[in-house]
């Protein structure tokens, strides 16, 4: 099979084909599909450990085929990489790496968020995972996951465009006669 023949195959079919034949072209195709997305997620979550975590992730996938159990490979990859990032015993993941990322106010704003909010925002935005899956990854309820996502977005908006206008009088004044 040539490079073009793999293009129409889904990730899961490619993975199956790779593990039955160990065809390097199939792996290259699979790797090319997800490498940039995974790298962006990892660098924004933990810049220092991104490379080693990704190496470990792909090594695991190469050594033994993941048990997808009907899930998408894309979801499996991000669930796995999230676990590896949590267990990464290198530099402090919360250390800010603003200078290492491209000079973008938005990316800097994302770095200002708490780890949970950043993770939820990136998993939903960058990795295009549904919030339900993100909630499973974070081991929280869907409702609180949605709240985290909203609060993260609000904080980001605030960082980018300043705080929302508030009415000058917040408390209602009761006039007693």
């Amino acid at each position: 099979m040539s490079w073009k023949d793999f293009q129409h195959l889904s990730d899961e079919a490619l993975l199956d084909y790779y593990h039955s034949t160990r065809n390097i072209k199939a792996f290259r195709q699979l790797y090319a599909r997800h490498k940039d997305c995974l790298y962006r997620y990892c660098t924004q979550m933990n810049f220092a450990g991104a490379a080693s975590v990704l190496e470990e992730l792909w090594r695991g996938l190469l050594e033994r085929p993941p048990q997808l159990c009907g899930r998408l490979l894309r979801s499996w990859l991000f669930i796995r990489v999230n676990k590896l990032l949590r267990n990464y015993a290198g530099a402090d993941p919360d250390a800010k790496q603003n200078s290492l990322l491209p000079d973008s106010q938005l990316l800097q704003g994302i770095q200002q968020l708490s780890r949970t909010e950043r993770n939820i925002l990136l998993l939903h935005l960058e990795c295009e995972l549904p919030l339900a899956t993100v909630a499973d990854i974070e081991k929280i309820s869907l409702k609180s996951c949605r709240e985290h996502y909203r609060s993260g977005k609000d904080k980001l908006d605030e960082f980018l465009h300043g705080s929302k206008r508030k009415p000058w009088r917040i408390e209602e004044v009761e006039v007693t006669v």
């Binding site: 790298y39 660098t43 190469l62």
Partner: protein, 149 residues
Amino acid sequence: MSVWEHQYRDAVAEITSPGTLDEKILLQARQFKPVKQENRWLSKAAGSCAAVAVIVLLVHPAQYLGALTPKQRGAQSNESSSLTNWQLQKPLPATGTDPWFELRSEVQAGNYMRLCQQWRHEQRGITADKLPRDLANKARKHCRLLPTH
């Protein structure tokens, strides 16, 4: 997709996996040797060779000429050799010189003098040698019998 999501996509577009990391991971992948599967080219070559061999066997003229294997030839050698080596026996050419050669060549040249002389001697019984049939016919045509004195 909201505006800031578009902004996010634009901002991260330049973050791509570094080449060194790609090389490392692909190097790991190369350590797993591909599963050996049946070599299609070899089997194709073998198949075509077999097909050619079958065609050669079918088309080979030896089959239709009744070529025999050496063993069979050994059994039938006596019968076949007498037939294969048979040739039409040509009669041996007559040995010796033609006694009428000179006379015949003279006659062919148009000189009938000696022929007629021989013919007269034969008629008169002077000589015992008889002319051959062709010369006698020619003599009958061309020679006169002169009266004896």
